[in-house]
Amino acid sequence: MLEFYEPQPDFGTPQSDSETLVTLTIDGISVTVPEGTSVMRAASEGGVKIPRLCATDSLKSFGSCRICLVEIEGRRGFPASCTTTVTEGMEVRTQSSEIGKLRRNVMELYISDHPLDCLTCPTNGDCELQDTAGEVGLRAVRYGFEGENHLVAEKDESNPYFTFDPSKCILCSRCVRACEEVQGTFALTIDGRGFDSKVSAGQAESFMESECVSCGACVDACPTATLTEKSIIELGKPEHSVVTTCAYCGVGCSFKAEMKGNEVVRMTPYKDGKANEGHACVKGRFAFGYTTHKDRITKPMIRESIDDPWREVSWDEAVSYTAERFKAIQAKYGRISIGAISSSRCTNEEVYLVQKMVRTGFGNNNIDTCARVCHSPTGFGLKTTLGESAGTQTFASVEKADVVIVMGANPTEAHPVFASRLKRRLREGAKLIVIDPRQIELVRSPHIVADYHLPVRPGTNVTVLNALAHVIVNEGLQAHDYIAERCETADFEKWVQFIADERHSPEHTEQFSGVPAADLRAAARLYATGGNGAIFYGLGVTEHSQGSTAVMGIANLAMLTGNLGRDGVGVNPLRGQNNVQGSCDMGSFPHELPGYRHVSNVATRQLFEREWGVTLDSEPGLRIPNMFDAAIDGDFKGLYCQGEDIAQSDPNTHHVEAALKAIECLVVQDIFLNETAKFAHVFLPGATFLEKDGTFTNAERRISRVRKTMPPLSGKADWEGTMALANALGCNMHYNHPSEIMDEIAKLTPTFSGVSYKKLDELGSIQWPCNDHTPAGTPIMHVDEFVRGKGFFAITEYVPTEERANRKFPLLLTTGRILSQYNVGAQTRRTSNSQWHAEDTLEIHPHDAEERGINHGDWVGIQSRVGQTVLHADVTSRVKPGVVYTTFHHPVSGANVITTDNSDWATNCPEYKVTAVQISKVTAPSSWQARQKSFDTQQLQLLEKARH
């Protein structure tokens, strides 16, 4: 959807959700709007533009600029149209000579303290002050420019992405209000009084030094050039824009890529995007520079061995070389000796093609996806209990929640745009229970205090979930009628027998989890009786040896309290990557065809066999960890890995590296020479989300369009690369556009049968299931009954992980993400986001640090049963004694050198969140880090040879 650049429509004040309608006349035009609507908005809806400066429809009305004054029949003076709400029969005049004079005179005051440098101003042509001066007809500033002013106020250029130029500020407070109302960080304020008022970050700090999280809501809200993107200053105003979907986390924000030719000059969150409704974070809005980073590899490359230099070749040569080697490997080692890994960062269509290529071209089911290592337990746990492998709600549903449980997730860092929505609801008074080993930001932040923080010891989630259920059952707080009507009663009775047992009482589980029994009881009562209860969880739940058990425990809690099937409740996995949900939906698991249908099912197989014209293997293929094991055993020799950096992201790096070295033909398709590519024999250059068409599916099951803003730098989008390889392997794949792939998916997958690009363009986005019963999609699942029919209460016995702390490894390491970096950091490390997080550090409690003689900033060795790495220490009480924490955004950190092979019993999802370690003060990086560094240098040299 190419559009010439134009600012997004702005109705001035937020929409009213009242159902009562009010009719009034504005300049003689009859307008009917919901009660509670402002006169300004009513006018906008009736097609009458009232000039304004301090009003914008993402913020509550404020009434400070005094430009939007109108006349209302029967009222004295000139009420501000933004703060005056409509009444039945009201007669409004928006223009008269008196109003005109008043507006002009107010504007004259503004401009008497504003530089007259419009022609050289970065927002020339895209400035509300400029537009409004035009609208009110300002022709002179009789005050002159000799008076007191702010024209020489100093610029703050500390933020890498935007500047703050107070000389251009009109004190409308839109930035301050956006920081409070939209983002919820409260980093900005107005300092001083009267004429001396000024916008101030933190306590008169620079933006970078302040609490500012660089979400950019202030920049978006600013009507002048005061807060302006540096890219706009450098490149000028965009000339066209393309609506697309963010390629970072699973929130799936909708953006307008604002372009000049093939260059992105700005990413602006799209107001009509239902996942984000006009908000964004520092990654999605600003961190797109990686897409044109000099490290991008844009030509296919091949080499015989990983000690050889790379050689740039044509796509044809790279593809036929790969096909020949794969065929030779299969001829020598058998049909199942090769496989592929699809990416949750790629589009649905691309993931679908990869699995199709494996099942039809490789002739086996050796296809797995990176969801294996994050949310595979969600798929298993929710499918088992509720019948569908997906979250149950829309994000907007949280606005109706009364009690929110956040478990093993850190939304303000990892899902910031959802976090802002959640924080807004919490500020309105919803209660909050945080279950997390760390004191995450939601536990205590401006205007937010968790009612209960249950600081669970890593690895014991199941005891906490069981104890919550135990309290609810034993205190008789369950939703009796709901359960009787909607759940399998025999299984429920069995489960009640199980859960009511004393071993699940909080007083008993406290010894395992470390969660005080009284807090846990109080939290259980709150969730069961506090109104609409919504659970949001993340990888802190799934990435455990009992990840699937914990997911089922969460579903049990929701069913037990009747908190499924309507607005404001539900069970919501926060997906890590942009298309985790989609990659799972698209059949990229070794046992499931698209739509979560088992490969052993004859009818399903026949359906696909008819369409694809091949015979499909009925045996599930290898999961990622099985592929590694088989590679080390010499049975698995060829791997096609698209858009995933297994060498950095998968656990037990030594093991992964050994496996990669054992593979004879490793094909990596990526935008950078990532850690995995350093072990590869074929490199196929990938395309970023800006370079291709497709769809992503976010954590709400929302399918949104990804739209091409520029041609792929390598000449092929990823789906085209896969198609070429598949055809070289003898498949018969011919798609002219990803929409044709989606048509095939819709034809073969009942939950997608109503999806098409045409409908996506019409509706903006669609939450699956979308079919004949729900042609516009399904915002909330399990409304009348569960997808599986009756809800199933699974028995969730606590089985302690084998990864235990002991005398030798007395501390438990857990891992997570930080706001500015994304996952393995391949993208964000190549942007200015690294100014916030240049390295991963180890968080350790002051008590544990002191025992080991560790000071803040010291090098510390982290030794686990499988490996050792070295990081700088961050001594902080965010973690409790006995627990240490790090992030994994930098390859050199080697976070996964220490994580183990333990994994979820049901899905093999690695147990990233629990590793027993010892910490000691050291003086230098570890031997692995030294090896990593030299290997890295060697591989980069081999790359350089290809390029010159």
Binding site: S61, F62, G63, S64, C65, R66, I67, L69, G77, F78, A80, C82, T83, T84, T85, K101, L102, N105, V106, L109, Y110, S112, D113, R142, Y143, G147, E148, I170, L171, S173, T189, I190, G192, R193, G194, F195, D196, S197
Partner: protein, 322 residues
């Protein structure tokens, strides 16, 4: 508050019972430490005696009272700024509607009244409404505590029934100027009140009568000036006061007041005088019609009255000499 704090406590309790509120706040300027001490002590005693707190006088009704101190901002006398300040925020004016009675302190319905009103509530309930009504004239009933200040022989506070004329107050009670020179101007109602020339001194203290001459009674403060006063400087002071005390939220007040000072300076310096006089009038219109609250809206009152009745002081000739 310093001499009879219980009248205020009683008045607030009555107000609380009347509207069903169980929490009251006295928002006191920090410049009155004695009143602060006395009020706190009085609240403590009233609470001990069962007149405040839980189940007051065994009535099954609760009413708690708390004194909160301001931080020196004039604007916090404006009710919505006062509420912001009470909430612990900057004293910034809120747009109305919603009125505080609908959505006030911490978003709850709030009655905001001044000490005079609440004090009067206690007297009215004690003495009956007829007694109260017997004082005053027209729609202005009861009494007013008039504060006589400035260049006046006998300054101080006098409680008077509405209806006496300004001249009676200043000349009879005040005894004329302290300097003994003729009175030239009287400002009534605080720093944003109009300057009244001799022709208006026979106006009775009555809200409607004052409004009719574009003046105001306000809090009853009277400042007397003798014939040495420079009314252009007084007009300038009004703008300057607004510039210093403006909360800075709305544009007419935030920028207008500063520009007002500059324009008056240009007028008295004879710089492009006629155009600047037009500009000053335009500015007064803009502030009066466009400001968010009465601070910016009333600053033009002293300015305009000085311009209208004492135009000769703006002539640009050297200031009046004495």
């Amino acid at each position: 508050m310093e001499t009879d704090p219980y009248q205020l406590i009683e008045g607030m309790t009555i107000a609380g019972l009347a509207v069903g509120a169980n929490q009251g706040y006295i928002y006191l300027r920090s410049e009155y430490p004695v009143a602060h001490k006395i009020l706190n002590k009085a609240i403590e005693r009233a609470t001990e005696a069962g007149f405040l707190g839980k189940n007051i006088c065994n009535s099954n009704s609760d009413f708690f009272l708390e004194v909160r101190l301001g931080a020196g901002a004039y604007i916090c006398g404006e009710e919505t700024s006062l509420l912001e300040s009470l909430e612990g925020k900057r004293g910034m004016v809120r747009a109305k509607p919603p009125l505080p009675a609908i959505e006030g302190l911490f978003g709850k319905p709030t009655v905001v009244n001044n000490v005079l009103t609440l004090g009067a509530a206690a007297s009215i309930l004690e003495q009956g409404s007829e007694t109260y009504k017997d004082f005053g004239m027209g729609r202005s009933r009861g009494t007013l505590a008039v504060q006589l200040a400035g260049n006046v022989k006998r300054g101080g506070v006098i409680e008077l029934a509405f209806g006496v004329t300004l001249r009676e107050v200043v000349e009879d009670f005040g005894g004329g100027t302290y300097s003994g020179r003729p009175i030239r101007a009287i400002q009534m109602g605080g720093p944003l009140g109009a300057f009244l020339p001799a022709s208006q001194w026979d106006t009775p203290l009555d809200y409607e009568a004052f409004a009719a001459i574009k003046a105001m009674i306000g809090h009853g403060g009277i400042v007397v000036f003798d014939d040495t006063v420079d009314m252009a400087a007084q007009a300038r002071f009004a703008m300057e006061f607004c510039a210093v005390e403006s909360c800075g939220k709305c544009t007419p007040c935030r920028i207008g007041a500063t520009r007002g000072v500059e324009v008056i300076d240009r007028i008295v310096n004879n710089q492009d005088r006629d155009n600047n006089l037009i500009l000053l009038t335009d500015l007064c219109d803009t502030m009066e019609l466009g400001s968010l609250c009465a601070m910016g809206g009333m600053t033009p009152f002293p300015v305009r009255s000085a311009l209208t009745y004492f135009a000769e002081d703006f002539s640009g000739e050297s200031p009046r000499e004495n």
